[in-house]
Point group: C2
């Protein structure tokens, strides 16, 4: 049976039981900077009833203060609300945990719920004290404006240097019931002084066993959001959170329920894969999405290592910016990737885009090709680099972007 998973409107409010709102709270102004009243900087996600929740976090040893509070509040696997701000990451501050807790207190009070049902999140500048005053005034207003049309307002509130809002929702059927997954996220962004940070919030109404939910989230993130690199730096505040209201009315999905699991897994994968590609494409300064597709590796580690090495090579990223079919750099990256089973003589490398496909390397040497055609292929906005190792049956992929003048400008010139 083919899966039927369709895009729908509504973002994180498409699943039953969720409302959201976003607002300009004036956080930057309270930090002494120039405010931009047209841009939301604070968002709220609220569930009518307590949700099962699961999350995965950054692997960076330096962690934002909100993550410590989030972990504590998610210890029971449940929550009802998310309060999230941009502009200030509340990281590397001595009073960080205190401030994150205050964000939750204000939210819990305004919503009349338990403080441990509130998840805090922040993104923006590291190492500047988070002013709490803007939250005092704004949170009651956020609660008043909660609406099923509010997904956009939160999606905007978490944007930093993102040039595009990142939001999606899908609909599908499980156990004869109409089900939904919605999600918003932010990609690598810069706030003075420029810290790339990723936050992803997912809502659903599918009835899933809570332990199973955590496992599925981890697996799907591993093949979607963890396949993205904009510049190789893992941020301090990364978090992906999923909440389910269970209101779709389906029989609980658990590990014994393979068919339903497959549908839910696929729907979540479609949602997070979409966001992963959007993040890479909207990487700081990027002009194009670079996909590396590694085929026929002996092991999945080899396939992953090759993909990661190719999309994180600065030399290759520059070549892609210049639409230069510089396959020597692809070979160099493969050789540096830590790949275990590899023979230059059996490796094939090609590039493709909407304008066609071109083999560049085979039998241990370069293939003669038309430079003109190669440039035409590489001038497109989505480039696929295919590496066929011819060593086995494992494959993987990764999403990245080119390295451009604007990346240097955004991250180097900001204060000069």
């Amino acid at each position: 049976m083919e899966l039927e998973i369709n895009a729908v409107k509504g973002g994180i409010c498409a699943p039953k039981g969720f409302k959201a709102s976003g607002i300009h709270a004036g956080i930057r102004k309270a930090m002494g900077g120039k405010g931009r009243p047209e841009k939301n900087d604070l968002g709220l996600i609220f569930a009518e009833k307590e949700c099962y929740a699961a999350a995965v976090y950054t692997q960076n040893k330096v962690k934002g203060a909100p993550l410590y509070v989030t972990k504590k509040h998610l210890a029971d696997g449940k929550c009802r609300a998310v309060i999230v701000n941009s502009i200030n990451a509340n990281t590397c501050n001595a009073d960080g945990v205190e401030k994150a807790t205050q964000m939750c207190e204000l939210t819990a009070k305004a919503l009349n719920i338990d403080i441990e049902d509130v998840i805090p999140a922040s993104t923006g500048v590291i190492g500047q004290i988070l002013p709490i005053e803007p939250f005092m005034d704004a949170i009651p207003r956020l609660v008043k404006t909660l609406a099923v049309t509010g997904s956009n307002a939160v999606a905007q509130a978490i944007m930093t240097t993102d040039t595009k809002m990142k939001e999606i929702a899908v609909e599908f059927v499980i156990d004869g019931k109409k089900c939904h997954i919605g999600a918003i996220n932010k990609g690598s962004g810069m706030i003075h002084p420029n810290m790339a940070t990723t936050l992803t919030f997912i809502t659903t109404d599918v009835n899933v066993n809570p332990d199973f939910l955590q496992n599925i989230l981890r697996e799907v993130v591993d093949i979607t959001l963890n396949r993205v690199s904009v510049d190789g730096d893992t941020s301090t505040n990364d978090m992906t959170l999923i909440m389910t209201s269970c209101l779709a009315g389906n029989k609980e999905i658990n590990i014994e329920n393979l068919e339903d699991t497959r549908i839910f897994f696929s729907a979540l994968q479609i949602v997070l894969d979409y966001l992963a590609r959007q993040m890479a494409r909207d990487g700081e300064g990027a002009t194009k999405l670079i996909v590396c597709d590694c085929q026929n590796a002996k092991t999945i580690e080899d396939a992953n290592n090759v993909c990661n090495a190719v999309i994180t090579s600065n030399l290759l990223k520059c070549a892609m910016f210049g639409s230069d079919a510089n396959w020597g750099r692809i070979l160099c990256a493969i050789g540096n990737s830590g790949v275990e089973y590899f023979d230059e003589k059996h490796t094939e490398v090609s590039v493709s885009s909407q304008k066609g496909e071109m083999l560049l390397f085979k039998d241990g040497g370069g293939v003669e090709f038309s430079e003109e055609k190669a440039t035409e292929i590489l001038k497109e906005e989505e480039i696929i680099i295919t590496v066929n190792l011819n060593q086995g049956e494992c494959s993987s992929y990764a999403y990245g972007c080119d390295l451009t003048y604007d990346y240097v400008k955004i991250n180097g010139d900001y204060r000069s």
Copy 2:
């Protein structure tokens, strides 16, 4: 006793028994490109008598063809000559080993020595056939022009995108005899299609046990040339070769000879540390040298990991280009480094240059500092980032450079 190690002139011909020459052979023109007759592209190093030799090679799994021939010719631990070209790396070509062997044959014949005493090396574009014709004409001319004043000519012949020639020689006394070490190298360079490649050639007249020579070379390279990163890519053709004529007349240095070993080790370290710093400072597009100095780590691995993470962070490299005291990115890089023993609350971060030193982070939070003074410090051409982990007694350092518009231009715009 203080070591007395003094800089002298003569480069790789400062040690007794060596001559060198460099020439414009016209390799680029023979490949169909525009020649630049004012730039040497082929060099020769020649020893009057057979030398003990040792080498270390790239860890990249894709290796340049010359490396296979070099390893074969160095199997007996001896050699007399090095023939080296720029413009073309002779890598990823089906006939690569054949061409590298031909380079040796031509050189051996012109010098009337054994082919296995010749070491070939190439740097430049990957994946284009190396034309052998220019070598046929040029090698006899190279032999005719061999001179003790020829170090410069070879140093120029191996330059690619290097903006400065890299050459050094030192003099010191061992066992009452005047001894020398000379060296030349090339840093990360670009030849169409732009492959960063590092080659280092060291000559000496110190009498050293050949097995011991290999061990010392490996150890010194590990704390000098292996502490450099320009853009995180290890090239396919990297090689560091040391040859000794043993003509200084000292008693053979071996493992039982601690004092003499110490002098030789220190002299070699001074030579390679100088080249390491020169390479980083002259990295593609770089405007400044960035040194990361990690102190008081619990383990040497921790210290190395922190240094490497800091100098390879694109975000931080951009901030350094913008002279921005963006310590959040330093913390972020430390957190991503894989450091095992780390506590944010005990970590201190400061930056310094000729214009002074400034503490930026302490006790888990930012220290108030003057932005004006910080910018003054960071506008210098050599910046030291000091990370004090306060966990133990190990320390390390690494050399890098900033990430600039010119890096993107050199590597992305070259053919557009």
